[in-house]
């Protein structure tokens, strides 16, 4: 049977394109705005075509910093954000994979208690426990440090749960075969379990990297020095200026730059990410 659907396919595509346009337009606007002079944006009649100040704006934003409102170049902020996001994602994965390993493959007293304790912390995100966490961080002299940005955020019930569910689908014969092959618990973890978890790790990494990158409240509280600022806070500070005109072109450039790393992570890890979420074959 020959399909006559030349026009039948058109409508769904139109709908999809409209959807894409709605999502993409603000991003486009941000890119355009970052290429114009501030005066053009400030008078309220910003054109929809690119301006001529792109290189200048981005250079100032990223490297030299602008004299007036942003004392630090955005490059520093991006580095801070990157370290924080990588630290959070890596730390969360490392901690939760070994917790899940212990819970699933070993029997020890209060194993289920341990599991439920981890599970209950789902109800205690940073925002809820922010004062005690701040107190501890400050007592440990971790304010204005990468460790202070990362450590309080790396315990993760969600990731532990995800790894637990995955580990429970690993056939127990695989563990037994490893035992007979002379692989102890650590060998089994490195040689078998970790390679099997690669896609799950990748999927989690994408989610957790974006979670880390987007952190706002915690960095706002514990960083006071400008050179420790993350980019999400930086944007806020650039917009919020007193007694001066907001440098919209810089704010927009910062916003565009802030989007790039998460986009890069998603694009680069897309295939593993999708595989990790749907793969069932062990």
């Amino acid at each position: 049977m020959v399909e006559h659907r030349r026009f039948g396919n058109l409508l769904p595509h139109v709908i999809l394109l409209i959807g894409v346009a709605i999502v993409a337009f603000p991003v486009y606007l941000a890119v355009i705005a970052s290429t114009h002079d501030n005066a053009v944006i400030a008078n309220g009649q910003m054109p929809l075509y690119p301006g001529s100040h792109a290189l200048e704006t981005y250079w100032n934003t990223l490297v030299s910093g602008t004299g007036k409102t942003t004392r630090q170049p955005v490059g520093t902020m991006m580095l801070n954000s990157l370290i924080m996001a990588l630290g959070i994602a890596g730390g969360k994965i490392a901690i939760s994979i070994i917790s899940a390993y212990a819970i699933v493959f070993f029997s020890f007293p209060f194993r289920m208690t341990a599991f439920w304790t981890i599970f209950i912390t789902l109800m205690l995100p940073v925002e809820v426990r922010i004062f005690p966490t701040y107190k501890i961080t400050s007592d440990l002299h971790l304010l204005d440090s990468y460790a202070g940005l990362i450590l309080p955020l790396i315990a993760s019930a969600t990731a532990t749960l995800l790894f637990r569910q995955f580990f429970m689908t690993v056939p127990k014969e695989l563990v037994e075969a490893s035992k007979i092959d002379g692989a102890g618990p650590i060998r089994f973890f490195w040689d078998t379990l970790l390679p099997l978890s690669v896609t799950n790790i990748a999927a989690l990494f994408v989610i957790l990297f974006i979670y880390g990158w987007n952190q706002y409240l915690w960095p706002l509280l514990i960083t006071t020095r400008d050179d420790m600022q993350t980019i999400v806070i930086g944007i806020k500070k650039i917009i919020d200026v007193k007694d001066a005109l907001t440098e919209w072109q810089v704010a927009m450039a910062t916003a565009v730059l802030a989007m790039l790393p998460p986009v890069a992570v998603v694009v680069l890890m897309q295939r593993l990410f999708v595989k990790g979420l749907i793969e069932t074959e062990k």
Binding site: P171, E173, L174, E176, A177, K179, I180, D181, G182, A183, R187, D191, T192, P195, L196, E281, K282
Partner: protein
Amino acid sequence: MARVALRNVTKIYPGGFQAIKGIDFEVGDGQFCVLVGPSGCGKSTLLRMVAGLETITGGDIDIGGRIVNQVEPADRDIAMVFQNYALYPHMSVYNNMAYGLRNRGMGEAEIKTRVEEAARILELGAMLQRKPGQLSGGQRQRVAMGRAIVRQPKVFLFDEPLSNLDAKLRIAMRVEIRKLQRRLKTTSIYVTHDQLEAMTLADMLVVMNSGQVEQIGNPLDIYQKPATTFVASFIGAPPMNLLPIRSDGIKAQLPGATDGGILGIRPEDFVVSNDAGKGVAFDLTVEAIERVGAETFIYGAREREAQAVTATPGELPSGEVIVRIPGAEAPGIGQRIRAVAPRDRLHLFSADGRKRIDL
């Protein structure tokens, strides 16, 4: 190569369930021992105890003259083939086989020789670089075998290795396993619930039921002289006819038989004939017929009073007698026939079915 001896081995689970109730037997050097029994009889548990994957509650397991009760699985010098093969999905066939050797610190050159030798024996040479996911069921099975062979262990342990294969492949692999074992002369213990597999593979057959050994011996001996009604009905397909001896027709035809015993007759020992001769005769109404080509099975009903004993696996409806006749010629359904079993082919058991009485 080694002998494996089990001495009064027991297993009690923490809940108090006694899975293995004192088992004694010895597998000679190079012998192929098959543990057979219905599911839940403890055969897999016993094998896993030999492997060291289950702890031993009581008794001793001796592999090659060394008590291994407290020895880790890796140090028992055994290799195991699992039902689902348990291949490492992320490793190539080569690495699957090499993994255990690397963990023992063997040199790469020696590993290569061994893996290639195993691959040659199992005809896996072309697949060494593939992952298990790219192999068929039969090929995965062979890789699992290869992983056992390269270790050159004292004992091979097989846990229902053919259950996941289709019927045709199962028969082919069964023959291959037997040939391989003959060639390598490695002591083997093989668990299965398939009595045909058990009969064809075993040098030594151990029939198990609810954590105990029912009978140990050469498969043909067990077939010809089952020690209990359980063994009689478990070994052989279709199962042996088991009929209670009461004050009915059977007793009259069996001088010397006591009341309350159980008479066993294999379906193939019947002859359809009008001449009772020196044997026991049954008048049956044909209820169903199964033609399999070379032979035909007749399911016949006796008179209402005469009920058959339901043996533990209980495959035979009470009152029914199975008769096997050669060829495809068979009486019609509803017809009355007379089936005669010669006296020297009868099996007699005590009333509880636990003891064989020699006629």
